[in-house]
Amino acid sequence: MTLDFSRNLDYFWALLPEIVLSVWAMVVLVAGVSGRHRPGQRTDSEGDPDFGQGATLGWLALAGILVAGFFNGWLYGVTEVGHTSMIAVDHFRLFANWIFLLAGALAILISFSYVYRQRLQVGEFYGLILLAITGMMFMAAARDLIVIFLGLEVMSISVYALTAFNRRDRKSGEAGLKYFLLGAFSTGFLLYGIALVYGATGSTNVVAIGASVANGTARTGLLTVGIALLTIGFAFKVSAVPFHMWTPDVYEGAPAPVTAFMSAAVKAAAFVAFLRVFLVGFDAATTYDIWYPIMWWLAAITMVVANLIALVQSNVKRMLAYSSIAHAGYLLVALTAANATAAAGMLFYLLVYTLMNIGAFAVVIAVSHQSEERLQIEDYAGFGWSNPLLGVLLTIFLLSLAGFPGTGGFMGKIYLLQGAADSGLWVLSVILVLSTMVSYWYYLRVAWFMWMREPVSEGQHDLVTAPLPMRLALVASVALILYMGIFPSSALGFAQASVHGLGSLGGGLLGLRP
């Protein structure tokens, strides 16, 4: 099927996964509202294996993700005319959609028991997760700054609400408010940047911006300020270092499944849009010279500062928050490198990162009794010997986050380094390797507590449970991580093929810098 966007109807086909998912989210919302007042709903027997009504809605939401995934696969058979329309139909977008859908599915699987124990409003919880994924998919599909902005807002507002979702927990509300205020502030930067770039180039279409920049009709002064403001806006969303202040508090305060979801998926969505705007819109040599030093310093500072602060964290959720900032730094190296290898490496890394981060959070949720207690590192003492299976899984996730050979995280870092080497970013590569070594300390400290320390009290880990949906998520992530660590070529080939479509648009993706 070939789409020609001069007919407006063809946007319907191009956006089918997004439309299906948003309609499905509304169905989940309505189902959640209509089922709530059934008598005998809140019996709250602690050992209820079905998680009440929540399970039905959870499986319903998962079915929606599957259907959206089906249509996402269907889009592989669709081509577009012109490659300049507002909505991109290329493999880059579809690969990114797989990441978002996977993150959403894993997040829903690990939240069944949590949502039940915390008595959250299930319909709205799963509905907002689906709507957030819809927003991310719009961001990945967008070839127009307006669509990117709207997708970003759909995603962000859902996530603000999800962060403050647990109204019995003061920390959750505080985190939501903090995230909302700072997020709205950063959105202002992004929007101002978009306006200035429009003023400089006369278009909000990324391809048209690229053309205007390449043939020299863009006004350099306005463009410079616009690029700087866009960078600030995106750097807030990916939580790169001078703009990371909100991250630890928000990640610590938000409900744990939401933290897992947003640390992986929101970051992936922001990076995907970041990549498309900067490598298609601003890829000409003149603009690359503008943003290359900004990105270089952002990446360097992010890697160094985040890893150093993570060393002294004693709260595991907070430690994972700083670790996610550090991973944003590694991914910024790929953006700085700005070549096809690095872009493919970034997609591969985002996929692996989604799996290992949500996996690690799943075990954290299990250890904290599906609530917000027992998050200190001492609570993990002796955990490995009392729950060997969960202990081994968490160890694998942590090793993968650290980048241990044999795991997907290692291969991801190798590809990021390869991309950096292709562009000759030797200093950044060295910083990446050194900060990775530093990160081994805080990841392995958790593992050390799990396996080498005696439990603080007898029966400390007796209440740790991982219900069936969570076990599904854990097994799926660990299998994929190990598979991608040992046989990385298939996933990497897939990522490279996905980036190929992107490169043909900009043209200048390779060899900008000797």
Binding site: N8, Y11, L15, S22, M26, L29, M86, I87, R119, Q121, E124, G127, L128, L131, T134, G135, F138, D144, I146, V147, L150, G151, E153, V154, I157, S158, Y160, A161, A164, F165, R167, R168, G176, L196, G202, R219, T220, G221, L222, T224, V225
Partner: protein, 173 residues
């Protein structure tokens, strides 16, 4: 005449924008903000964007600001917050940052390109659209043709905002 009016509106806009952040009373801030938005509407009129000016007055200075006023008065803040309003290093820093940004923009816009904004490609296409469809049509037509996808996404955005607000504000959980 237009120039004089522009400088008056610009001065009021900047002065009351400063008033928004420096006023110690939230209602005062709000009224300053109304003044800022109203003088921006005046600048829009000078740029011959009459429809935008009307929308600015009706939606921003009218509806949204009245809502703000209601919320602030309903919240009944008291005077406890006033001891938190201090001039710290950060307020000075933010003034410096905003000033630098404004300087950059002034230089970028002023560098040998003054006056050609209206005669640029974008300005000419806007003129053509306005003369063909009228001021409202020039905005409405693209909204439902070229930009129909962003328009629909805005619908989802509003849905998300409503759901989020209801979830967080509803009384009985």
């Amino acid at each position: 005449m237009v120039d004089i009016l522009f400088y008056i509106f610009a001065a009021v806009a900047i002065g009351s924008a400063l008033g928004v952040v420096m006023s110690r009373n939230p209602v005062g801030s709000l009224l300053f903000m109304v003044a800022t938005l109203a003088s921006l509407a005046g600048i829009f009129v000078l740029l011959e964007a009459h429809f935008l000016a009307a929308v600015q007055v009706i939606v921003y200075a009218g509806a949204i600001m009245v809502l703000f006023l209601f919320v602030i008065m309903l919240l009944n803040l008291g005077h406890d917050y006033q001891k938190d309003l201090k001039w710290g290093a950060f307020s000075v820093l933010s003034f410096i940052v905003v000033g630098t940004l404004a300087g950059f923009l002034a230089r970028a816009l002023g560098a040998g390109s003054t006056g050609d904004v209206m005669s640029s490609a974008g300005g000419r296409s806007i003129d053509a659209a306005v003369s063909e469809f009228g001021a409202v049509g020039a905005i409405a037509r693209p909204l439902f043709t070229t930009y129909v996808v962003p328009f629909e996404i805005t619908g989802i955005l509003l849905l998300v905002a409503i759901v989020g607000a209801l979830v967080l504000a509803k009384r009985n959980v």
